[in-house]
Amino acid sequence: MTTMNVIVCVKQIPDPATPGSLGPDNTLKRDGKLILDESDSYGVEMALQLVDAAGGGEVSLVSMAPNGEVSGLRTALAMGAAKGTLVSDPALQGSDALTTAKVLGAAIQTMGAFDLVIAATESSDGYTGTVPEQLAEVLGLPSVTFAKKVTISGGTLEANRQTEDGFDEVTCPLPAVISVTAGVVEPRYPSFKGIMAAKSKPIETVTAGDLGVTPVGWAGAGQRVVSITQAEARAAGEIIEDDGEGFAKIVSYLENLKVI
């Protein structure tokens, strides 16, 4: 039996079903209930499967939030992760992606030995998409981004990496950082037993100061919002209910454009 310890980066985001808005400091409002980013549920599932396949080890979570929100972490714990580390600090408000990677990297260094770090390709709220590869560089590790199929054999990771035209087969020794695409595995639903067990699983909360990462938040961000404007709206179109002849409307529309 081998063991496999996997750390999954997870983000807690405002529910994407409700329209987003900006706060007075021009950051996305994240003051309501936060949920586990669906993109991260694939990484959690993959980590659980890899640990199962190895026959031992555990899945740990790492997350960062300006407030002490843990509901998204509890969802991932209910899926089967063993424990979590949350970097929670009001000073993190306004942090850019580079600072986020430095903070996550410093937190991961406190979490003990690991074989693999998994992140989603990008978050569903900020979608900067740079953190996984920045994190690999911060940790000084090799990485495989856009992994859509991952297996581990004899201490080496084998992945199919999504490309513009198809995919590449890539090998990479461990420890490593990977980013996974959505749809790579089918995330399990937490069972009732899992939800109950998650309530007593440990979440360690630390601050950016505890980790020795400074400056963070606005002070550390190499960027400043200078203006916010409404984009020019498209003119309203013609919306009709299909009465069985809706297709004919499309045909005449295409005729008018001279494309048929």
Binding site: Y127, V170, E238, I250
Partner: protein, 323 residues
């Protein structure tokens, strides 16, 4: 202002997104002074003429990456040139998978922020600002870099128009990948190309896309048939790519292709933010969806509130009968 453009190649020529950025870099540098340099991860001998025509006076080329992934390899080559004394003020990247990986590694090496998903850039004295659409493109945020350069920014394809200025072929200088150590240990061992037919999704004059409203994978055939009849390309929402109905190369949206065809036909797509940012620039948008509250109708020029399973077969039959 000296500008580098991370330049990508496809089929032996620079990608259109690369030429768009070179064109923009040329116009920025001609107004404030400075040079435009193309930085190629690979061999540049076949690209130098086209890169020069579009504004680059110099090309750095790493040479063959020998199976190393571009993120770690090209960023290390860039850092080596910068450490050698040639440091740009701004580095522009196409918002592509490779562009994103290279800029991410580089940002840590240089300890500089990255600004992604941009559609415009302006330079006012020393102040460099980029524009990013958020909330599905309804709101535009202008952000300026603070602190010292090099500033690192990525731009979505089709943000600028590629135009040749008739410049001479750019001079190619070698920028070899330095020893990467264990961080460069990932290795490509095989390359698979998924076959596609018809026009390319991001170049087609007509795009027909399907979403979850199609109900099941087998119904995607309706989308393919319609696309073929219109000599267009079939596309997809992220939902059905994630569900495994069609390959990722079909995906239109934030994480997929940005398309701006003459006609975009959305079939059973509700219009999630992530999809809309990839197709909102289409000249004419036709939407078929059974939910009249679907956000896609907010940007459609012609919207049919109805069942795609009824509307599409009739539409296909009508087009077929025209011959």
């Amino acid at each position: 202002m000296n500008i580098w453009v991370f330049s990508q190649e496809a089929g032996g020529a620079p990608t259109t997104a690369t030429l768009e950025l070179l064109t923009k870099a040329r116009s920025l540098s001609s107004s404030v002074g400075g040079d435009v340099t193309a930085f190629v991860g690979g061999d540049a001998s076949a690209l130098a003429a086209s890169l020069g025509e579009h504004g680059a006076t110099k090309v750095y080329a790493t040479g063959d990456l020998a199976g190393k992934l571009p993120g770690v390899a090209v960023s290390a080559a860039m850092k080596a040139v910068i450490d050698g004394g040639d440091s740009p003020d701004l580095i522009m990247f196409p918002q592509t998978a490779e562009g994103r990986d290279v800029m991410s590694r580089l940002s840590v090496k240089l300890d500089r922020t990255v600004l992604t998903n941009n559609v415009d850039i302006s330079v006012d004295g020393g102040l460099v600002s980029v524009t990013t659409p958020i909330f599905g493109g309804n709101v535009l945020v202008a952000t300026s870099f603070s602190g010292a350069g090099p500033f690192i920014a990525a731009f979505r394809p089709k943000s600028f128009t590629a135009e040749s200025a008739g410049g001479a072929a750019a001079v190619v200088t070698a920028a070899p990948v330095p020893e990467l150590g264990s961080t460069g240990a990932a290795q490509v061992v095989a390359v698979h190309v998924e076959a596609t037919s018809g026009p390319k999704l991001d170049e087609a004059a007509i795009v027909v896309s399907g979403g979850r409203g199609l109900g099941e994978a087998a119904n995607y055939e309706l989308v393919e048939t319609l696309a073929k009849l219109l000599a267009g390309a079939p596309g997809a929402s992220r939902a059905i790519v994630d569900a495994g109905w069609v390959p990722y190369s079909y995906q239109v949206g934030q994480t997929g292709k940005v398309v701006k065809p003459g006609v975009y036909i959305a079939c059973g797509i509700s219009g999630a933010t992530q999809h809309m940012v990839g197709m909102k620039g289409s000249k004419n948008i036709i939407a078929i969806n059974k939910d009249k509250e679907a956000p896609i109708f907010g940007i459609a020029d012609l919207g049919i509130v109805g069942d795609v399973h009824k509307v599409l077969p009739k539409l296909i039959e009508a087009l077929q009968s025209r011959g």
